[in-house]
């Protein structure tokens, strides 16, 4: 009985021992293969995270590029509109300037965000700002459209006014024909394109430029020889059917063959602003004018020596050329 009890105990102990052994072996096996697997997983993980990072970066760059493209397209689109807008901004310059200021600030902010390649967190912000930028461009485009429409309306009004002015004063629409002198004096008349300008109200005609020699008994005789010339005498007629009576002034420029301006005297000659820039004039002529009157004006220029060649007389009113004549002295 006692033997059977000890055999049972022995058997139980053996079973426990075997079980312990199996457990130990299982644990050892697990421990061995787990560490090996962990190493493998670690290396795999490294490769995977690199791949993931690469993929993420590509996505971010693609986003950045697309944002950059949207941004560039928005700016391009806006710039082309801005060019046409800037021509017609007189009346709304202040609000437009404010809008432009906002636009430029926004544009710079976006450019800063897109420039910073390491900061992907702000891409969302950039997307938001580009959206805002597009709204602003749309607003400005709307304004541009309004301005263009206003411009068209004003242009049509101006054409209408010019038309009615030409109807009232047909001579103003014509170009001035200056009197031809005798052929041996080689005086050339030049048509003046500016006289057709609606803002230019004086018409110059009957332009003359004569070279005179003064005899011993103080008589003035016309000559065509430079060496015999003692003074140049000029004359022209001005007419204006539109403006009321007023004091007016014209300036005369006489260019010598070498291109220098022939000055009457330092009290008579000065400078004036023309549509070709600042110029020196030979003499200035002031006169009282009555509407519709044909006003004849004369002047003379005295110089010690006159060179041979082509002398050009120009008449300016309000800085605009209203008459031109050339004369050759042989």
């Amino acid at each position: 009985m006692r033997d059977s009890k000890s055999s049972v105990l022995l058997l139980v102990s053996l079973i426990l021992f075997l079980m312990s052994f199996v457990i130990l072996c299982t644990w050892g096996y697990n421990a061995y293969y787990k560490s090996k697997e962990q190493k493998h997983v670690k290396s795999n993980l490294k490769e995977d995270s690199a791949a993931i990072a690469k993929a993420t970066s590509a996505i971010a760059n693609a986003t950045r590029d697309s944002l950059q493209n949207i941004y560039a397209a928005t700016i391009r689109n806006f710039d082309s509109k801005l060019d046409s807008t800037s021509n017609y901004t007189d009346s709304i310059r202040k609000p437009l300037d404010e809008k432009l200021g906002e636009f430029i600030t926004l544009k710079n902010e976006i450019a800063e965000i897109l420039k910073d390649k390491n900061n992907d967190a702000d891409l969302g912000l950039a997307r938001q700002k580009i959206y805002e930028l597009q709204i602003r461009v749309d607003e400005l485009a709307g304004k541009n459209k309004n301005i263009e429409q206003e411009n068209k309306r004003l242009f049509a009004m101006l054409n209408q006014l010019s038309g009615s002015m030409n109807e009232r004063n047909p001579v103003n629409a014509k170009q001035v024909v200056f009197e031809e002198r005798s052929p041996n004096e080689k005086t050339k008349s030049v048509l003046n394109p500016i006289t057709s300008n609606a803002s230019n109200l004086f018409i110059a005609s009957d332009l003359r430029l004569s070279a005179l020699t003064i005899t011993d008994n103080n008589k003035e005789i016309e000559t065509s020889q430079a060496i015999q010339t003692d003074k140049l005498a000029g004359a022209f007629t001005l007419k204006n059917d539109l403006s009321p009576n007023y004091n007016a002034e014209v300036v005369v420029v006489v260019l010598q063959p070498d291109g220098r301006v022939l000055q009457k005297s330092s009290w008579e000659s000065g400078t004036f602003s023309s549509n070709e820039g600042k110029k020196v004039y030979s003499c200035k002529m002031r006169f009282d004018y009555t509407k519709g009157e044909s006003k004849k004006l004369v002047f003379s220029l005295v110089n010690d020596n006159y060179m041979r060649g082509n002398y050009i007389m120009q008449i300016y009113y309000n800085g605009l050329l209203i008459g031109k004549l050339s004369k050759i002295l042989s």
């Binding site: 004091n247 330092s266 009290w267 008579e268 000659s269 000065g270 400078t271 600042k278 020196v280 002031r286």
Partner: protein, 388 residues
């Protein structure tokens, strides 16, 4: 022996060449007219002694065409009436007189010596007439010419002579000449069609006194913008009252078509506003041009400096180095604030003649300081002819 002679000959030749060069250089002024005489005018003014060599055209029956050959001055501050300034002024006066005789070979009868109206006014104010007489006697003694005439001219005479010397005969009776000086402004016109009656115009404001008044109001803020603000206040205040009153009193608005300005500020504005007209002694301007010029002094003074002034000049015939040189001279004489003060005063006076319906022609005379010399010469010569 021959070597020694050679050395002496060489030295002698060098000396001769040097002497010739010096003589040539001394008389090397470029005459403008075919028939002319050269005169010297030496004037003792409030600030110092001034000498002008003037070539006067003999072809003209009436003397009114002249050409300035030299213009020299020595600053001495005579009107402080102290012994050192007395001596300095006397030395300057004698020195310039001897220079005219020895260096420029002008005979004594062609040298005219005067004491200006500025000195006369100050001498009367401080009871220093004896001081001025003593000065004239000392001068005569030093140059050993006891009979020399050194006239003390008054403001009326000076204004009249300047008008006769500066304004051409053709514009004599319709031109109002105004000389803007540093301490005051004077001028006038001939109201009755003769050169005897001269209507005098005077203001107690000049370029320097205006600048000083604006400067006094500036306190600690020495910026140009504050100067501009204070200058506006000066010119809108007591200066304006005096200008309006004096111009109205002169009656010049109705009697004149042309308003000509002379003095340092007229020269500087004319030089900078129209550098193209460097050789012209007179420059016609408009009120708007001078107004724009003032803005340019205030906002873009840099553009009026030396080389900057010629930028934008396209005329190929212009003497660019000469223009730059003259602009630099102006820059030395007038700084930004003085130029603003003078131009502001000029504008204020011009404004009185800028009517809505009737516009006057304005002129800036560059060489007004020698105007009186020509008139004085003409007057003296005609007096001599009458005496003969």
């Amino acid at each position: 022996m021959s070597k020694v002679n050679g050395k002496y000959l060489f030295l002698l030749a060098c000396l001769c060449i040097s002497a010739c060069s010096i003589t040539y250089a001394q008389n090397n002024y470029k005459l403008k007219f075919k028939r002319s005489d050269v005169y010297a005018g030496i004037e003792v003014g409030s600030k110092g002694v001034k000498m002008s060599l003037v070539e006067i055209n003999k072809d003209n029956q009436k003397i009114s065409e002249f050409n300035i050959l030299k213009d020299t001055s020595i600053n001495t501050d005579f009107i402080s009436f102290t012994q050192p300034t007395f001596q300095a002024t006397l030395n300057g006066f004698v020195g310039l007189y001897n220079t005219a005789i020895n260096n420029y070979k002008i005979s004594p009868e062609k040298i005219f010596t005067v004491i200006s109206s500025g000195v006369k006014i100050q001498a009367e104010k401080f009871e220093k007439n004896a001081w001025v007489s003593g000065f004239i006697d000392s001068f005569k003694l030093r140059i050993k010419e006891p009979a020399r005439l050194v006239e003390v001219i008054d403001a009326l005479q000076e204004g009249r002579l300047s008008h006769l010397g500066i304004v051409p005969t053709s514009r004599r009776y319709n031109t109002f000449l105004i000389d803007i000086g540093s301490g005051n402004t004077k001028g006038g016109y001939f109201p009755n069609g003769n050169t005897t009656d001269f209507k005098l115009f005077q203001l107690s404001w000049g370029t320097k006194s205006t600048a000083n008044a604006a400067d006094k109001r500036m306190e600690d803020d020495k910026t140009t913008s504050n100067f501009n603000k204070q200058l506006y206040r000066v010119l809108a205040g007591s200066a304006n009252d005096e200008i309006v009153y004096s111009v109205n009193l002169s009656g010049a608005y109705n009697m004149s078509d042309n308003i000509a300005f002379s003095g340092g500020i007229a020269w500087s504005v004319a030089t900078l506003i129209n550098p193209e007209l460097l050789d012209n002694p007179v420059v016609p301007v408009t009120y708007e041009e001078v107004e724009k010029f003032y803005e340019r002094i205030y906002k873009n003074y840099q553009s009026l400096q030396g080389e900057e002034i010629v930028k934008g000049l396209t005329d190929p015939f212009l003497n660019i180095p000469a223009i730059v040189k003259e602009a630099k001279t102006v820059n030395k004489v007038f700084d930004q604030q003085s130029l603003m003060a003078g131009t502001g005063l000029l504008l204020k006076i011009m404004r009185q003649f800028e009517g809505i319906y009737e516009k006057k022609q304005f002129y800036l005379v560059k060489n007004g300081q020698v105007g009186w010399v020509t008139a004085y010469v003409e007057q003296s010569l005609s007096n001599q002819n009458v005496a003969k």
